[in-house]
């Protein structure tokens, strides 16, 4: 029966499946709606990497293109986009998503088609713990970054009474829980563990802090909430040291919090620009091209795309043809990259073998801050029952 259909299709001159030499890398992230500011950074970071690589591929006779997609931060739309992507034979890899909740069901689709995915933003352990061969991630896992932060907070800063706040997202709560676990292990007391979806009025939290009198506040979440929270905390006289994960690694954090940002800490895998000349060059190019500084996930997306491009370059230069998806998936897992976010090599399940976490201190209310400590943490091992 399938043959009949195929014959029918051929009879009608099915030439839609382009066998041309266009290679597309897709980005999938929310481009509309409230999280668009973050999602756009993923798109722009990847776009920069792709545009840099275009001349190289042109010389080899290939056209490398970006296919930006909007998943609206919605799992349904994400899965639909994933289905669209896998049916487009020109698409060889995906850089995305922003939300773990969208990434997990979407990557189930990519898995079925062995489409390589490199995630610049999904920190939830479940993304790689499923041991899919095609799913990789460049960002650190929650269970790496949280403990790294806790170690610094308790051992170096001597935090004793810690108040943990998170934003009730996969990312924020995940990293906050891991922070709490490690901090308690190290002997600090967690006096509060509160989640909130609130974005404007944090007084309810601040009053709780007033009662619990913490000397340290950890916020699991992203800068646009963290900045407002920190500003309101300082306005109301809460003087506890403030710390957060790489969601705070943005000039916007300082801009929103204003003077209150002074003295805050955050952990990040993005190398400080003064130590990494590549990062500086990338930031300058980015700013020139898009008129804004690369924020939050832009550098991860840039590296993710570059990693895919490196694998592609190797393949295309050698084989003189575009790789199949399975070939590229295998290759991406093997590829290493010395990028803007440091050295990347994937382990057997797609996590970075070892990520350096930089603890950054904002000594003045000015971005970027100063690196005060480098913590190295390997990704925790998962038992992969059967490599699927």
């Amino acid at each position: 029966m399938k043959k009949v259909f195929l014959a029918l299709a051929l009879a009608f001159g099915a030439t839609a499946l382009a066998q041309g030499n266009v290679i597309k890398i897709a980005t999938v992230s929310p481009l509309s709606g409230e999280q668009a500011a973050l999602g756009e950074m993923i798109k722009l970071g990847a776009q920069l990497a792709i545009e840099e690589a275009q001349p190289y591929f042109e010389k080899l006779g290939f056209k490398l293109e970006l296919a930006p997609q909007d998943d609206q931060a919605n799992p349904d739309v994400g899965v639909a986009v994933a289905r669209r992507l896998v049916t487009d034979p020109e698409i060889v890899a995906v850089v995305g998503h922003l939300n773990t909740g969208v990434a997990i069901p979407s990557s189930e689709v990519y898995k079925d088609y062995q489409l390589a995915m490199v995630s610049p933003a999904n920190t939830g352990p479940a993304v790689t713990d499923r041991c899919y061969l095609n799913v990789n991630r460049l960002v650190g896992r929650d269970d790496v970054q949280g403990p790294a932060g806790a170690e610094f907070a308790v051992k170096e800063l001597g935090a004793k009474r810690i108040f943990v706040v998170h934003d009730k997202t996969t990312y924020g709560q995940g990293v906050a829980e891991q922070f709490k676990k490690k901090a308690e292990e190290l002997g600090a007391q967690v006096v509060g563990f509160v989640g909130t979806e609130e974005k404007a009025n944090f007084q309810a939290l601040i009053l709780q802090m007033k009662a619990k009198k913490p000397d340290f506040v950890y916020f699991g979440g992203i800068y646009h909430q963290a900045g407002v929270l920190l500003k309101q905390m300082r306005e109301r006289g809460i003087k506890a040291t403030f710390m957060g994960p790489d969601g705070l690694d943005s000039s916007k954090f300082v801009e929103i919090a204003g003077e209150a940002a002074k003295g805050a800490y955050y952990t990040t895998v993005a190398g400080p620009i003064e130590k990494y000349p590549k990062a500086k060059a990338m930031a300058e190019k980015f700013e020139k091209k898009f008129g804004k500084t690369p924020e939050s996930f832009a550098i991860y997306a840039y590296d993710s795309a570059n990693l895919v491009i490196k694998a592609l370059k190797d393949f295309v230069a050698y084989a003189k043809r575009a790789p199949t998806r399975a070939e590229l998936s295998m290759l991406v897992r093997q590829t290493t990259l010395d990028g803007v976010t440091g050295y990347t090599a994937f382990d057997y399940k797609g996590d970075r073998k070892k990520a350096d976490y930089f603890v950054v201190h904002l000594k003045e209310a000015k971005y970027p801050g100063e690196v005060v400590k480098v913590i190295s943490f390997p990704a925790p091992a998962t038992k992969c029952e059967a490599i699927k």
Binding site: S32, G33, E34, A36, A37, K168, G192, F193, V194, G195, T196, E197, E198, K199, A200, N201, Q203, A204, L205, L207, Q208, K210, A211, H224, G227, V228, K231, E235, R236, G237, K252, E255, I256, G258, E259, F290, G291, K292
Partner: protein, 384 residues
């Protein structure tokens, strides 16, 4: 733990009051439009957002030009309000009026239009902001004058605690009396008796907890919060005056009661509806500017959650009623703050701040079950 709860109480209620006034200001816009057209103007949250974003632009553009922060704020309020009013009128003219002209009786149709307008305006503002600044999060600048913090005298806090305690004991006494009456044929206790019993209990309680109640309660308020309260009170009084004392107000009420008859009396309903949107939009815009001043960050999607809350407040107070919007806003604000702060303590962290909206909604349902017309709203006879 009781000590903590008591000590926090004045601050919690004060913050709830401020939040409540913010909700009340936004709720006015919903209530105005609903009063006249019986239409849930879902797009009001985007009108509010337009005002907030326009206010941010005014602040950012003129910060270097005008030195006096109060003058700057006045300008931002006026321009933010004006922008929001224009948006509101355009929305009415382009989206709602065609529906009225077709004589659509289905009330869900304008609701869908409103949702469409909402989607459209959010991304339109984003497009404009994006083309202009290449970013769409706008931050209100800080001014030390607005952020100056004042400590309120302790007696205010003490009085608040005592008043709340008295109220709590009154309710307890009321239910106690009700329980007793369940099992005996006792007469219903007089209100005065209950009050005296409650006062007595309060005094006893206060005596045992005097080290908590008369300690330093640390109630602080910021200049910008004071501004919010002042402006929203002014808006409430102004609107009440406008609706009840001016010719326009009479016309608005006439159209609200019966548009057809009003038009026979020489009132053009279209003009009145347009002006209602203008007023509602202006108030929404002002609320937006003050919201931005209070909470710093505004963006095209900022309106959604405050909008929903304010709409809830309007329903809670009795939709279509100006005082109701204020009362509903205050009740909702206080509930939210109480729930947000106390739930964590009461459940020892098992049910955190996140349950504040659940608590607020459950109480909303509870109130509506007993007073389906809202706290202040009037029971209208059913039209047959």
């Amino acid at each position: 733990m009781l000590e903590i709860l008591i000590q926090l109480l004045p601050s919690v209620l004060l913050e709830g009051l401020i939040l409540g006034f913010v909700y009340a200001m936004i709720a006015l816009g919903y209530t105005m439009v609903y009063g006249v057209l019986e239409l849930i103007n879902f797009a009001h949250s985007e009108i509010f957002m337009a005002g907030a974003v326009a206010g941010a632009e005014v602040f950012i553009l003129l910060k270097g030009v005008i030195g006096n922060p109060f003058l700057l704020l006045a300008l931002a309020i006026l321009i933010g309000g004006a922008v929001a009013a224009i948006v509101a009128i355009l929305v009415e003219r382009l989206a709602y009026r065609p529906l009225r002209k077709r004589g659509t009786t289905n009330r869900l149709v304008p609701l869908i239009t409103a949702i469409g307008v909402s989607f459209f305006l959010q991304d339109l503002v984003r497009l404009i902001e994006g083309l202009w600044h290449n970013a769409f999060y706008r931050r209100y600048p800080s001014f030390s004058v607005f952020e100056a913090t004042y400590t309120l005298p302790n007696w205010i806090g003490v009085l608040t605690i005592l008043a709340t305690l008295w109220l709590a004991f009154w309710v307890i006494a009321y239910f106690g009396d009700w329980l007793v009456r369940l099992f005996s044929k006792k007469e219903r206790a007089a209100g005065r008796t209950l009050s005296i019993v409650a006062a007595g209990l309060t005094l006893v309680f206060a005596f045992f907890y005097r080290h908590v109640i008369f300690a330093d309660l640390g109630m602080t308020i910021q200049m910008k919060s004071i501004l919010v309260i002042v402006v929203s009170l002014a808006m409430l009084y102004g609107l009440n005056w406008l609706v009840h004392k001016t010719k326009l107000g009479i016309a608005i009420r006439a159209v609200a009661q019966d548009a057809q008859t009003a038009s026979l009396m020489g009132i053009d309903p279209d003009v009145i509806v347009s002006r209602t949107f203008l007023i509602g939009g202006f108030l929404g815009g002002v609320a937006g500017v003050l919201f931005g001043l209070l909470y710093t960050l505004v963006h095209p999607y900022v309106g959604f959650i405050p909008g929903i809350k304010a709409f809830t407040a309007a329903v809670l107070g009795g939709i279509g009623n100006i005082t109701g919007a204020a009362v509903g806003g205050l009740v909702l604000g206080m509930l939210e703050m109480l729930g947000g702060t106390y739930l964590t303590f009461l459940t020892n962290g098992a049910m955190g701040t996140e349950y504040k909206d659940i608590l607020a909604f459950l109480i909303l349902i509870f109130i509506l079950l007993f007073r389906p017309q809202g706290i202040i709203g009037q029971q209208l006879g059913e039209k047959v």
